[in-house]
């Protein structure tokens, strides 16, 4: 198979409903009004030569290759910048045009190295293609001045910039501006001296404002911006479309391969979540998949003091099964449990929960959503009836007011952030509610109308005060509420929020948000047109996480901002498959499709399919499993793709729980921190090595396709199946599509989903069933899933975690663009050049009081524990608030977080910890002893040669 680049229509599709018919080269074509002549021609099958045009960018008209002749018009207009008109008669191939195009190309080539054969882009170069297309055969100029021989900029770890090959088409600059919205590139100088510059003259790519999203590399038509891997390996020869395994945006990529070697990940233009865009993680940070620290052979050890022993798959699985059986027999079946992974596919997740419910015989299954978005499930199910966001990502293009609360999309959901920023640059208004001055508050060409820099932990108070303003100032959309919601519940809620104690003024001492600002923000949201709310873990990871979600839902209902494009309540999901893991029945109290375990009819459905009797009582949640373990009644756990030691709060508590267990089975890519306490290690497979589906934040089910053979031998679902078989279960799935068929049979919202349909349609947004055969981009269109929308009174209940003389500051945590969660993947890529350690952000006043300067080591201590890291002094955080990320295990930010949690779901209160900061000389005692433990736990005795 030869390599085929993605098709390119030259200019973006027009969206007009009006259709225009014209004639191009004697053939008629009908396209939407606003379409360019170039695109109309392309849609009809005529490719007009072009270099500066690409359909991800608005027409620019600079290369002058795409000139055409139009009857009745003077000159030779550029087809990319000329919109179609009714009855237009266009000629794209005339002797005059051929001569002009050749003339332009002759100029290009007079300033281009003639090294095609040794060029990294040979065979994948638009300049090369177009030179052929216009029939250029010789260059008559004897150039004196050229741009050849300039030094390359190789500073970026993933791509090179070779100015000698640049044709100054500005596609990179425009991609950075229009697609990514970082505007890190420019054209420097003018005329013949024009050249692309990252940042100012003294910058290189790495030192510039570039965030390495790859949009410029993607846009470059030559080898000027080229992936280092392409230079190293050569151009790809085949491509497989798959879904990114980083965040909840769910970008579609083409994994471009040469043999079994991945050459590059290229964002797929048809991907409905990313629309051809990418970020530094998905685009470039996949090197972990081949990292030398990946564990490829199963390993066991009798005790966690022992070194690991490599064994065969059969031996490992037999040992695991015998241990699980022994423990079940000794302590009772309630002593077993499992954790599904939001990193794994729907099918794999479904199997793990099935293993626990049908194999272990209990409901002790939970998932990492417990520690991130479990309040979303609870809150949105209670108010709207569905545990998911209401919109597709496209919806943001119709928003007039965007309210971002407790989310930092620029870092956490970069590709969606780019789409949001594009809308903001076009004029949508922005409200940011966040204790930290995130990038969104003010970044080039974007400035929030309101930044409510609240005191961490007071989300509910702020939202209630907003509701107070909306209700008492008469801004409620009563028609919507009367038609769509329970009116009595609304009135209860309205009278509650109207109470004086809930006014912005009354709550100002608590929230620290100036009342006038808060009122203005509320008015803007209520009256500014389509209002959309996007939120993240800054909402959920609080003691009132669920209440905050419901308070958000209340606001949306009260203002009628639900049920159409441009509005809605949109959780920005952290991991690639958080939505899917929740959908698949990973929570201990519910089966796939959010049906409570106590519901006999639902249980019966599963029991029939699985041929077992199911427990009707909820099982244990992760923190309760750990409690039970410390109490000596929970003894064995199967953890697929989650590193609870690093990711879960109060590390000491997690460690104690794990240490108390007799059989910890970790199924992962690397010896993670949890594996320090494991007895059995089952090597996992990467998303590149498996088939299945992920479900992103917009409920979009997307295919994950195997692009290479699993290095460890098996896809993760196969390992789970083998474990089940070892336990005596009669599982015989031949392919993940069969698992999805079972999911579809058992889950009404997935009834219409199958691998065949996904292959044909690319993706489907659940619910997909009889009432929504094509899926559901927008939910609650005509009515709420639960019937009437439910207003829930959300009283502000302060967290028990309080500052005091010993711990006077509030710590809040988050993540950064280049690193991902516990960093297991990104730390094993060149992304470390952007963030090699976790830093503590502290306000200048607080730093000054403590004699702390940027770069100093500081001790970060809470009631739960302490750690050390380096400080950076910044006004991004307010006085009294400090911030850090949790990407590095040796910092272990979660040593200091507490086990306070959301009242409804036990989602940990990561975002509020009372701490003290003091100067420090080096690691804490705990960090030192942990480093030792880690070293010990990574000793591996190689398998016998015979194995």
């Amino acid at each position: 198979m030869t390599y085929q680049p993605q098709s390119d229509f030259g200019t973006p599709a027009a969206t007009s409903d009006a259709q225009i018919t014209l004639t191009i080269d004697g053939r008629t074509v009908t396209v939407p009004a606003g379409t360019s002549v170039m695109r109309a021609a392309a849609e009809q099958g005529t490719s007009i030569p072009k270099l500066c045009a690409t359909d991800s960018l608005s027409a620019f008209g600079s290369c002058r290759l795409c000139l055409v002749e139009i009857d009745g018009r003077r000159g030779t207009p550029a087809s990319c910048t000329t919109p179609v008109e009714p009855g237009m008669v266009v000629h794209t191939q005339t002797p005059r045009l051929q001569k002009l195009r050749k003339g332009v190309m002759e100029l290009y080539i007079s300033d281009h190295p003639l090294d095609c054969l040794t060029c990294g882009a040979n065979g994948d170069c638009e300049l090369q293609d177009q030179a052929g297309a216009v029939g250029l055969r010789d260059v008559r100029y004897q150039p004196v001045e050229t741009h050849l021989g300039q030094a390359k900029d190789q500073s970026n770890p993933y791509f090179d910039f070779d100015p000698s090959k640049c044709i100054v088409c500005s596609r990179c600059v425009r991609a950075c501006d229009e697609v990514q919205g970082t505007l890190a590139l420019t054209v420097q100088g003018r005329g013949f001296g024009s050249k692309i510059s990252a940042g100012i003259a003294s910058d290189n790519f790495l030192g510039s404002e570039c965030v390495s999203c790859g949009a410029c590399v993607q846009a470059c038509p030559t080898a000027t911006l080229i992936e280092k891997k392409v230079v190293e390996i050569g151009t790809p020869e085949r491509a497989v479309v798959t879904t990114c395994a980083y965040c909840g945006v769910g970008c579609t990529f083409r994994a471009e391969m040469r043999g079994e070697q991945l050459v590059r990940m290229v964002p797929w233009k048809e991907g409905k979540a990313n629309r051809g865009h990418s970020c530094v993680k998905g685009r470039f940070a996949w090197g972990y998949a081949q990292h030398q620290e990946r564990i490829l052979k199963p390993m066991i050890r009798r005790s966690i003091q022992d070194p690991w022993q490599e064994v065969s798959w059969d031996d490992a699985l037999a040992y695991a099964a015998s241990e699980l059986k022994r423990i079940s027999a000794t302590y009772g079946k309630q002593a077993l449990g499992g954790i599904t992974s939001s990193r794994c596919t729907n099918e794999e997740t479904f199997l793990v929960q099935k293993l626990v419910r049908a194999g272990f015989g209990n409901n002790n299954v939970d998932t990492c959503a417990r520690v991130c978005h479990s309040p979303t499930g609870y809150g949105l199910k209670t108010t709207f009836g569905t545990s998911a966001g209401t919109q597709d990502f496209d919806s943001v293009e119709d928003s007039d007011v965007i309210l971002v609360i407790g989310a930092n999309p620029t870092d956490g959901h970069p590709v969606f952030a780019s789409r949001m920023k594009r809308r903001l640059r076009k004029g949508a208004k922005l409200i940011v509610i966040d204790p930290r001055r995130t990038d969104l508050v003010r970044s080039p060409h974007i400035e929030a109308q309101h930044h409510l820099a609240l005191q961490p932990g007071t989300n509910v108070a702020v939202l209630t005060a907003m509701a107070h303003t909306i209700v008492t100032e008469g801004l409620v959309n009563e028609a919507f509420v009367k038609e769509r919601c329970d009116w009595d519940e609304y009135q209860d809620w309205a009278s509650f929020v109207s109470e004086d104690r809930n006014s912005p003024e009354a709550l100002e001492p608590v929230t620290k948000v100036p009342a006038a600002d808060l009122r203005a923000a509320a008015r803007l949201y209520a009256t500014g047109g389509n209002g959309a709310i996007y939120y993240g873990l800054g909402v959920t990871e609080h003691s009132q996480g669920s209440s905050t979600v419901m308070a958000i839902a209340n606001l949306a209902m009260a203002t009628g901002n639900i049920g159409r494009r441009g509005v809605g309540v949109n959780p920005l999901r952290g991991q690639n498959n958080v939505q899917g893991a929740c959908d698949m029945g990973s929570f201990p109290h519910e089966l796939a499709g959010y049906r409570h375990i106590s519901d006999a009819a639902t249980r019966a459905l599963f029991e029939r399919e699985w041929g077992v009797q199911l427990e009707s009582e909820p099982g244990l949640r992760i923190p309760n499993m750990l409690d039970a373990a410390t109490d000596g009644v929970f003894k064995a756990i199967y953890i697929q793709g989650e590193d609870i030691l690093q990711s879960d709060p109060n590390t000491h508590h997690v460690a104690a729980g794990l240490e108390a267990m007799e059989c910890v089975i970790v199924h992962d890519l690397f010896l993670n921190e949890t594996a320090n306490y494991a007895h059995i290690f089952l090597p996992g497979s990467t998303f590149l090595e498996k088939n299945g589906t992920f479900t992103n934040a917009e409920r979009r089910i997307q295919p994950v396709r195997k692009v290479m053979t699993p290095l460890n031998g098996y896809e993760d679902w196969e390992v789970t199946q083998k474990l089940a078989q070892a336990l005596g279960l009669d599982w015989n799935y031949a392919h993940p599509s069969e698992i999805m068929d079972e999911i579809a049979r058992l889950t009404p919202s997935f009834a219409g989903v199958s691998f065949d349909r996904l292959d044909q349609e690319g993706s489907l947004q659940w619910p997909v069933n009889e009432s929504a055969p094509d899926g559901s981009p927008i939910m609650h269109v005509d009515g709420f899933v639960r019937g009437k929308g439910k207003f829930v009174v959300t009283d502000y209940v302060p967290t028990d975690e309080r500052t005091g003389p010993r711990y006077p500051l509030l710590l809040t945590t988050g993540r950064i663009l280049s690193q991902y969660n516990v960093g297991a993947q990104t730390r094993r890529t060149d992304n470390v050049v952007w963030h090699e350690e976790d830093l503590l952000e502290i306000h200048p006043v607080d730093a000054e009081n403590r004699g702390i300067k940027s770069g100093d080591w500081v001790r970060l201590a809470s009631r739960a524990g302490e750690t050390t890291l380096r400080a950076t002094v910044t006004e991004r955080v307010a006085p009294g608030v400090v911030y850090t990320t949790f990407h590095h295990p040796l910092t272990q930010a979660n040593v200091v977080t507490t086990d306070y949690s959301d009242w409804a779901t036990n989602c940990p209160e990561y975002k509020v910890t009372a701490v003290q900061i003091s100067p420090s000389n080096g690691p804490t005692e705990w960090q030192e002893s942990y480093a030792k433990l880690q070293n010990n736990a990574r000793r591996i005795a190689k398998a016998e040669a015979a194995e």
Binding site: G199, I200, R442
Partner: protein, 135 residues
Amino acid sequence: MTVQDILDRHRGIEGALLPILHDVQAAFGHVSEEAIKTIASSLNLTRAEVHGVVSFYHDFKSAPEGRPVLKICRAEACQARGVDALVSELADNGRVKLETVYCLGLCSVGPAAMTGDKVHARLDTAKLQALVDSL
């Protein structure tokens, strides 16, 4: 006068970048990279954008010019009146920076030149030399 003073003076006007850059160039004789960063952050632009603008326009210099500057019009009307010969005859020891400009709007009385805001016309060899020597 600091860059910040200049920024404050232009706060709130639309399309403020060129007026700001003119003032910075006038105050400091060039637009430094530090100034670019300050301006970018104040106008909520990227430093790349400001750099692109600064480098586009010939009036903005990246480094200060220590020497006195004489701008000589070398456009057609002054060519027709012999400016090329005039310049080639000029005894120039490099003490004065000779800059080419294209047209000062004095096309009927060329060759013409400008020093600061002062314009000079009907230059001949002697007058031009005198002008250079006076700087």
